[in-house]
């Protein structure tokens, strides 16, 4: 067992535990912070798989932007900070757990029976190649994605904007 593999298993283990914490903790802030860890660990995993560009994008976009958004969301919706037993829907817990576990088994079965083998990681950087492909072969989807982002931007603004009537209501 090389050091490389040890690191990998360690990362995977941490990944699991933080992800578990995201969905089980009763503190909203903890959940968000755990998600940060999950994502950071995923980025590490990507680095181990020599996909450094994706890793960086993950860190920048997710941890940099999305999580901040989440925190804002938590604040604006006045979610009770600190421990909160109300956070989970207890009625659903058992069924949800069973279902999730079933899905886990199903997926594991499919994936394991479908794929096996070992990966040898070449250490060379793939970023330049990735950039070239992204802007040649995949340039059309790339443009479409940018449109999607634009649409999301406009849609987000339209949705979240306060209507005049509501502003008045708030003032009252």
């Amino acid at each position: 067992m090389e050091i490389y593999e040890i690191v990998t298993y360690f990362v995977l283990l941490l990944l699991l535990s933080t992800a578990l914490r995201v969905v089980t903790t009763t503190n909203v802030i903890h959940a968000a912070v755990s998600l940060v860890f999950t994502l950071a660990l995923t980025a590490t995993l990507f680095l181990l798989l020599s996909a450094e560009f994706v890793a960086l994008v993950l860190i920048l976009v997710y941890i940099g932007a999305v999580i901040v958004l989440f925190l804002f969301g938590i604040m604006i919706t006045r979610a009770p900070l600190g421990k909160n037993a109300e956070l989970d829907n207890d009625k659903n817990k058992k069924a949800g757990a069973i279902l999730a576990f079933a899905i886990f088994l199903l997926f594991s079965f499919i994936l394991i029976s479908g794929f096996s083998g070992e990966i040898t990681i070449d250490q060379a950087s793939s970023t330049q190649l990735l950039g070239e492909i992204l802007l040649t072969r995949f340039v059309f989807p790339f443009e479409i994605v940018s449109f999607v982002l634009l649409a999301a931007l406009i849609g987000g603004i339209t949705l979240a904007r306060k209507d005049d009537a509501l502003i008045n209501e708030d003032q009252i």
Partner: protein, 666 residues
């Protein structure tokens, strides 16, 4: 195709310009749609889209005209839209001298009229719809003049008719206006019978609907078409009589003045009413080669129209009606010219007339806008209040009266010259009298409207720039449009319009025909002089009228030869009331009575059936069968909790189950 190949040797094919000329036709329809759906929300209520459209058409047609002058374009394009039996139904567009001339006339006059109308119609009801219809009209007119097949001609022909219906009846709140619109449509529809049957005959005897092919066959002496040429020619002319308001089917045009003035200027003076002339010109090689006798009939009706309509114009007190009858009369000139075999002269008159008559109508509109009445008896002295309108109106009048160097002089002279050349002395004399009458009634109109003292109410004032500027542009055309075809000096126009796939064999004067020229000129001057003497020097309209009032001619003219009276008394009312009611009575009292006596027995039987299958009976059965469904549904509905997570859970459970089934069982 052979004939196109022939012509391509000598002319250019117009390249991309010709290939994309369909834009001219399609664009107005698209913008009409846009105006309909979004017009009301736009800052200028849709007028801006109409203007942009017509502006682009103007520029495109100018470019085409320029290209045509420099290299001469003859080309046509076809799209097959259906096959029926052995016929191909085709639409398309033709780009040659004749159609390009028409594109340009439509584009120019329409652009100026549109600009004028943005102001003229301001504050009127249905402003947006007005521009929709006007744009639609421009498109329909272009469909008509761009047509390479007879079927497309028919389509454009009726579409302009509908636009005319919509626009004449623009103020449909009043019954008179909607009746006028209806009259225009129905009169045209009657004439269309001729056109339709004419097209059918031509199509069946040539086996094609393409105009160029039909013309090719007629100039190459095909037997089938020769046998029916006279009938077909006359039938087509009947169609043209309706649209181009030839006696005795002209009755709709004066009534059509119920529409807003820009409409009268664009449709009922410059473009739509010339469709008949255009059709005759388009089919001219056919007439020339095979239906010479039909041409004589054409000439006869043209001459009758030009004099009868001119005479009615003398007694009209409504400014727009004077112009309307004048239009009918001038159309008579064009038709007579075609009839005498003077293709170019006729189109030349169409060309100049489009500009100066549009000018006169818009001028009249400007006056009417200022004094709020159509009656010339309540006008007078407007020269002082509306100087710009006055000057442009005078230019139009002089051009119409045919004084040099204004446009009407050259075109009218050419028509007279060709009549002279054909040796039709009687017709020539009538036409010269017509020129005299024209000059007389126009002078009368000017005198009653602009000279003397103001007889109306309120304070008239000059119209807005948006209205006077188009007048000035048209005035420039009314002066200069005739200079493109001066015998012996520059005859570019002849080259334009004779540049087409089929050769035109016509007489074309090399120099002025001085007999015709001077007699026409003298007639015009006499008319102006007399008009000035009668209406200006006598001081008032009543006195002037009294001076020339010759009973019973005057009464006959005032009643428009009793034509309308005749139509209503002997054609329309009998059909609408007597015959129709008789038919209806036959239906209910005779046919139905037979049926009912049979039905009496059946009715008895039916009562029983009906009672047994009455609504209650049916429903009872239906309900009994459905109570079980009711209880089932009541249980199922409990699943609908509205809670997303439950839905999702059920969904996922389903997914898992189905996946398991697929994986392990199937």
């Amino acid at each position: 195709m052979n004939l196109l190949a022939e012509s391509k040797l000598s002319y250019g094919d117009g390249g991309v310009f010709a290939e994309y000329a369909w834009i001219l036709v399609v664009l107005p329809f698209i913008s009409a749609l846009i105006i309909t759906f979004f017009g009301k929300k736009l800052p200028y209520k849709g007028a801006e889209i109409a203007l942009a459209t017509i502006g682009s058409i103007f520029f495109y047609s100018s470019a085409l005209l320029y290209k045509h002058i420099t290299e001469g374009i003859v080309n046509e394009f076809f799209i097959v839209v259906g096959n029926i039996g052995t016929f191909d139904i085709e639409f398309g567009w033709v780009v040659d001298g004749l159609s390009i001339m028409m594109y340009f006339v439509v584009g120019t006059v329409a652009l100026l009229v549109f600009i004028y109308a943005t102001n003229y119609m301001k504050g009127e009801v249905r402003y947006t719809f007005f521009f929709t219809s006007l744009t639609l009209f421009a498109g329909s007119m272009l469909v008509l003049v761009s047509s390479p097949t007879l079927i497309q001609i028919l389509i454009g022909w009726e579409l302009v008719g509908v636009c005319s219906y919509l626009l004449i009846g623009h103020y449909w709140e009043t019954k008179d206006n909607s009746s006028a619109a209806m009259k225009a449509f129905i009169t045209n529809k009657i004439a269309d019978i001729g056109l339709m049957i004419g097209i059918i005959i031509l199509a069946l005897n040539t086996g094609t609907l393409r105009i160029s092919e039909i013309l090719y066959q007629s100039t190459h002496d095909y037997e089938d078409i020769k046998n029916v040429a006279f009938v077909a020619g006359v039938l087509l002319f009947i169609g043209a009589m309706g649209k181009s308001a030839q006696f005795p089917l002209h009755v709709w045009l004066p009534d059509a003045m119920a529409g807003p003035t820009p409409v009268s200027a664009l449709m009922h003076a410059a473009t739509m009413v010339t469709a008949g002339v255009y059709l005759l010109a388009r089919m001219f090689p056919f007439y020339e080669a095979m239906a010479h006798e039909a041409l004589d009939i054409v000439m006869l009706f043209g001459v009758i129209t030009l004099i009868t309509a001119g005479l009615i114009a003398v007694v009209q007190d409504d400014l727009k009606k004077v112009l309307a009858y004048s239009t009918v009369s001038q159309l008579g000139y064009m038709v007579a010219a075609i009839g005498s075999g003077a293709y170019t002269a006729s189109l030349f008159h169409l060309w100049t007339h489009a500009f100066f008559k549009a000018l006169l109508f818009l001028g009249a509109g400007s006056v009417i806008h200022a004094v709020h009445t159509n009656s010339m008896l309540e006008m007078g002295g407007l020269r002082k209040y509306m100087p710009r309108t006055f000057i442009t109106f005078i230019i139009g009048t002089v051009a119409l009266a045919g004084l040099p160097p204004f446009a009407g002089f050259f075109s009218k002279d050419e028509i007279l010259a060709s009549l002279n050349h054909e040796g039709e002395t009687t017709f020539l004399v009538i036409s010269i009298i017509g020129a005299f009458v024209t000059a007389f009634y126009m002078t009368r109109a000017v005198a009653l409207t602009f000279l003397g003292e103001y007889r109306g109410h309120g304070h008239p004032h000059e119209s807005d720039k948006m209205m006077t500027v188009p007048l000035m542009f048209l005035a420039v055309f009314a002066i200069g449009a005739g200079w493109v075809n001066i015998p012996g000096v520059y005859t570019g126009f002849t080259t334009w319009v004779t540049t087409r796939a089929n050769k035109i064999n016509e007489y074309h004067p090399e120099s002025f025909d001085y007999t015709a020229l001077f007699s026409g000129l003298i007639a015009g001057l006499l008319g102006i002089g007399l008009g000035y003497f009668v209406y200006q020097l006598q001081g008032s309209a009543d006195k002037g009228d009294k001076l020339i009032k010759v009973e019973p001619i005057w009464t006959v003219l005032e009643n428009k030869y009793y034509l309308d009276h005749f139509y209503f008394k002997y054609l329309i009312n009998p059909t609408k009331l007597t015959i129709a009611n008789a038919v209806d009575r036959i239906n209910t009292n005779f046919l139905d009575r037979i049926i009912n006596s049979f039905g009496l027995a059946a009715s008895f039987l039916g009562q029983i059936v009906y009672n047994n299958f009455d609504q209650k009976g049916i429903d009872k059965f239906l309900n009994a069968s459905s109570t079980s469904t009711d209880s089932f549904g009541g249980k199922v509905k409990l699943l609908q909790t509205g809670k997303t997570q439950q839905y999702l859970m059920l969904f996922l459970a389903g997914v898992v189950t189905i996946s398991l089934l697929i994986l392990f069982i199937i």
